[in-house]
Amino acid sequence: MQEVKQRITILTSFLAIAAIAMLAAAIAASKTAGIVLTMVVAYIVFAVFLIGFVYRIIRWAISPVPFRIPTTCGQEKSLPWIKANPLECPFGNLGVIGRMAGEIFLFRSLFRNSKAELVNGRPVYGSSKWLWFFGLMFHVSLLLVILRHLRFFTEPVVPFVGALSSLDGFLEIGIPTLYMTDTALVAGLIFLFMRRVLVPQLRYLSLFTDYFALLLIASVAVTGISMRHFFPVDLNEIKTMTMGWVTFTPVVPGKTGILFYMHLCFVMVLIAWLPFSKLMHMGGIFLSPTRNMANNNRARRHVNPWNAPVRVRTYKEYEEEFREQMIEAGIPVESTGPGEAEKDKQD
């Protein structure tokens, strides 16, 4: 039952991809649809992405952080002769910046990953950095691939893009040369996907969106790589279209082929869906209160904007109840009898 359900989920994500591909093919076949896609939908998608992304960030930002709750992963700053760990347990802003940089650029927390197993009735925690390695590889490659695409969006091409492309294509494999990041991107995706499909626990907790996100990015990559290496397209037409976008003079590209429309549709689905999906982790990580706060709680007071009043039991109420007993035990008391005229002022 469970197995069938999992398989259906995985299959559905493939079907969703196929549906987008089919839609793209249909669009490629129809001139009007092509015009609508490249001249209208493109802007809508970008607007959805931009506004959606900013909206999500602001939405998070509006919710206050009532308490200072950093997860401390190293020695706190306490006595001067005890070596504190400013990155794992930052006391000041600099440390927080360092810690966040570690998380964002090096996936610090994932680097800690381990694998728990029971071996001969004893739990063992093996080092397990594959997720860190492939995850980092995937994300860095994706970033570089996106940056390389600036060659289609800038004229004259931003200088660093050329340098990046030649570095990326340093190994002369094929013509045009194979980009290492393309390979790494696909390798990362394959790892992440296979891991989800093959590890029973992960398959158990994975949702349709988890598979779909990976497959969608993979589809973008595969169509892009195909256009570079197997079914070349006229880049001139493509750049004319992309430059039309960024100069607000959209033009419909000439003959570019189904593959290009697929690539375009996958990208559009990806960025339009992004603000509504878990892919927002790219923005969310900056706001994570367990990571982006300094562990200086006792040194600097954190203010809760909605600090709600609660019912409290004052000392006076307490003494009222236990006064006799306290006097008997010789514990000092504030007043000796009940019915004290003076009322305690509650704060």
């Binding site: 070596k83 063992v124 925690y125 080092s127 950095k129 190994l171 494999i173």
Partner: protein
Amino acid sequence: MLEKALSGSRGYWIWITLLFTLFIIGFFFYMRQLDYGLGITGMSRDISWGLYIAQFTFLVGIAASAVMLVLPYYLHDYKAFGRITVLGEFLAVSAVIMCILFVFVDLGRPSRVMNVLLHPNPKSVLFWDMVVLTGYLLINIVTGWVILSCTRNEIPPPRWIKPLIYLSIPWAISIHTVTAFIYSGLPGRGFWLTAIMAPRFLASAFASGPALLIIVCLILRRWGRFDAGEKAIQALAKIVAYALAVSIFFVLVELFTVFYSGLPEHKEPFVYLFAGLNGHTNLVPWMWTSAILAFTALVILIIPAARMKSDWLAAACIAVFVSFWTEKGLGLVVPGFIPSPLGNISEYVPTGAEIAITMGVWALGFLILTAFYKIFAAVRLSLDTAGNTADLEC
């Protein structure tokens, strides 16, 4: 486990910084070499291989020597090596990485390096060298890492690791044999054209590699909070002694053949090495130093009383290492080109850039080695002493 390489004492970080600086300097000069071409080196039309390939050849030997720990432990159940086979495997890993890097920096068109896989020529020994070196790298990374992980978790290693370890034994022999074949299979180079090249390589490898291991073990004992055990170190010292003796014997055999037969094509490079040819004597002092060091080390190592003293042992091992580095690193590659097929004698002197790049590769190799050994020592330390591992430093 990788994270263990990221924390250490002040001395550790000074050492790491030093190596890293050397690496960066080397990298800078490599960028220059990429820009200018290999002309930045001292290599020429006549001496077309130099320092890089020489280091590669020497390091293949270091890599192969891991087998000298694995073989006694796994085939003969020699327990004293149990704690340090991983050291040998990690030494092999970093040596092979250096080998690959030396070949890489020696390429005129490094960007096309993948052509070896895209358009392989199975008749080329270099192709096979690539295959055996990559294979050896993988075998040793996997076995070293898996065994260390299991040690750390105090669980028995998985069953599949055993065959892999057994495979590593012939494989270690193969890397140095195939590397020797690069040289000994060339028709016009009398100096290299000798069937004893592969055995000579192996003998010198089994002396210089374990010598380096002994040095490392002595360093770890003094500064690394890890003791390999006197028994293991002495056993290694004996291996060095025998391998050194065999190695010297092989060289003498070679010298006899060459000089007694008097074949000019075979003789001239040796004359160049030990006496100079037509007034060209660049390598003569180096070679004699090498020879003297080798004999001195042999004497120290075969006298048990001397061998037992760690200072003497360290001196002997350094002598062995330097001697074979000179023999392989300087005296093996260059003389093959002297005289040239057209009777030229060009001498070879590495340039500053070339030396910087060479240092850079060594630095990177030692960086990797240090990281591996740091991880190893940290794992052992937490297993052996458990307490007081905290780094409470003020």
